[in-house]
Symmetry: C2
Subunit: 186 residues, 2 copies
């Protein structure tokens, strides 16, 4: 019988991260994750398709935040303003409460080349989605692709800075500085 476990998803995520960091991703089983969270494997599979999804289930939320922000940007926004809006659309996702989790998630990803590759691919998927959102707002290629790549570049670098040890700035402030640095390069 499916029983609703309050906070089960978060407990499973925290247990999984701890185990991934302690003993590596490959060595960790779903049974161990469920056991550490004091839940059943069946409960695990109600929330996640597999253990890798524990690390990447935020990708869809992020993608929709980017795409929705482009869609709701003001009329007459330039390609660059649309791309910057996409990145700004994700700021609400990266709260100070989330930062310790994001740091630990990165440690877990750094335990396996395959996870680092998956994370790299995620950036490519986000860039393609933003480019399409820009086209849907009437931006033509190659501007759509170039502006989307520029936005994801700032997003990727900002995320790396945001989770650096001791960093306390908001991700939005970090991104504003990076967009300025990017403009200065050009």
């Amino acid at each position: 019988m499916a029983r609703w476990e309050p906070g089960a998803k978060q407990r499973l995520q925290l247990a999984a991260l701890d185990l991934f960091v302690e003993q590596g991703f490959e060595a960790t089983t779903v049974a161990q994750i469920a056991g550490r969270a004091d839940l059943t494997e069946r409960t695990f599979y109600r929330h996640f398709a597999d253990k890798r999804e524990v690390l990447f289930d935020g990708q869809d939320v992020l993608l929709h935040a980017f795409v929705d922000a482009v869609g709701s940007a003001p009329d007459g926004a330039s390609p660059r303003e649309l791309a910057e809006a996409a990145v700004a659309g994700s700021v609400a996702f990266f709260t100070d409460e989330r930062r310790p989790w994001s740091r630990r998630r990165q440690q877990a990803i750094d335990t396996e080349d395959g996870l680092r590759e998956r994370e790299s691919l995620k950036m490519g998927v986000l860039a393609s989605a933003v480019a399409q959102a820009l086209r849907d707002r009437g931006v033509t290629d190659p501007a759509a692709e170039l502006a989307a790549d520029a936005a994801i570049s700032v997003f990727r670098v900002s995320f790396g800075q945001w989770i650096a040890p001791g960093e306390t700035r908001d991700i939005g402030d970090i991104q504003a500085g990076l967009f300025a640095a990017q403009r200065a390069l050009a």
Copy 2:
């Protein structure tokens, strides 16, 4: 007995591409590739570790072309000039003779999601290598990462344009236009 087969590597590559496009990458075996090229499997394995390497053995050449071009750029070059030099360093690789091969390679890659992912990862590896080459020339982060990402964005888009049906421009001319478009966006 290892016998030197003149042109063996290129014959194997052409045979492999034909088979990948005809019947898909997964369905193609090394035995079929060697047979189509009228060579032995043993000869295949003298040139390639596996069938995937037929598609990606140019990656190292490209990476070194990018990195060497950054290293030999003039003193006092700006981060952006160094990044543009990296991309310009690859122009000699993409000759008109190579274009039909590159188009066919892209068709082969498009037969499998896994190959598309591998190609996407390649861009990430190239971006990391260019960022490191910029740091070696004294560029600090985040400028090194942002400039490297901008260069690889232009490279990726330029390559897509260069292999488009009917395209006849040199890749260097395409890249010059894209760098200008990128500056205009900022």
